[in-house]
């Protein structure tokens, strides 16, 4: 499985990417929504995109809306991974087209549970 990790923090990209790689994912990274769209336009179509909310250039909500408006990216599952934890913000993200929502800080176990809910946990991990 392939994942695109989108966060303006290199440290957070490393943390999220490391967790996903432990679960068997191949990962790529992008520093903001615009860079992430460039990756998609190059033809890299991930199974999962982990999307930070607050980023320069193009934020996570704008990225989610852009992906959802393009039928070519319909197969990409979008998970917001953010510090925005208010219910109103979660509703905004889900309304924009995010499938799942993860609040920072989180543990690897929490990520595994979310992936399992989405059916995106490789079988060898879920066993």
């Amino acid at each position: 499985m392939r994942a695109l990790v989108i966060d303006d923090s290199r440290a957070m990209r490393r943390i999220v990417g490391s967790i996903l790689e432990d679960f068997g994912y191949e990962t790529r990274q992008a520093g903001d929504g615009r860079q992430a769209l460039d990756v998609l336009e190059e033809g890299y179509l991930p199974d999962l995109a982990c999307v930070d909310w607050n980023m320069p250039v193009m934020d996570g909500l704008q990225f989610v809306s852009a992906v959802r408006s393009n039928p070519a990216y319909r197969s990409v599952t979008l998970m917001m991974v953010t510090t925005e934890s208010e219910t109103s913000q979660i509703v905004r993200a889900l309304a924009a087209g995010a499938h799942e929502y993860m609040i920072k800080p989180f543990t690897a176990d929490a990520m595994r549970d979310k992936l399992a809910l989405l059916g995106l946990l490789p079988q060898e991990v879920s066993l």
């Binding site: 303006d8 923090s9 290199r10 440290a11 957070m12 490393r14 943390i15 490391s18 607050n54 980023m55 320069p56 953010t82 510090t83 925005e84 934890s85 208010e86 109103s88 609040i103 920072k104 800080p105 989180f106 543990t107």
Partner: protein
């Protein structure tokens, strides 16, 4: 005080949260980001002379910042942990800015969730420790990580309106 003036008054942060709450948030952040078994011990040690700070600003009914402050070597060590770097890793100054900024960002996001809505979070910034507002509008955790001083403050913006400024002079 008029109704209009009252609406401009910023409630002190200590009315909303205390140091114990900030410590609890930090405990979760340390475990998740810094690493399993990494503990921010709530026992102050002497503050270093030279420090680096990272912070995020919060704007809304309460305006201020969540600030993380430590010395440079501690910042580098934290960065190594966040980047999952194995020594001898090359840690650049921008890596330290990024890692401390992300710590401030996650701490700030969790603090924001306790504040009245609507509040918004700015992007992380780093630099000299920003000046604190009045003591009444400041919540501070003096702690140590790996024996070194680390401070987390939730501090009102210096320009934020406070009750005293809006009171009608006697």
């Amino acid at each position: 005080m008029s109704e209009h003036a009252s609406s401009l008054v910023q409630q002190p942060i200590t009315d909303v949260l205390d140091a114990t709450t900030v410590q609890r948030i930090a405990d979760d952040v340390w475990t998740a980001l810094v690493g399993d078994g990494e503990v921010l011990v709530p026992l102050p040690v002497p503050a270093p002379e030279q420090t680096v700070s990272a912070w995020v600003q919060i704007t809304g009914p309460w305006c201020g910042a969540v600030v993380v402050t430590c010395d440079q070597p501690t910042g580098v060590a934290l960065t190594e942990c966040l980047l999952r770097a194995r020594p001898p890793a090359v840690i650049e100054p921008e890596d330290v800015d990024d890692a401390l900024g992300e710590l401030a960002n996650v701490l700030g996001g969790n603090v924001k969730s306790l504040l009245p809505e609507p509040s918004s979070l700015g992007l992380p910034q780093t630099g000299p420790t920003p000046p604190a507002s009045r003591p009444e509008d400041l919540c501070r955790v003096d702690a140590q990580w790996r024996g070194q001083s680390l401070t987390i403050t939730v501090q009102g913006a210096t320009g934020a309106p406070h009750a005293e400024r809006n009171e009608v002079p006697q």
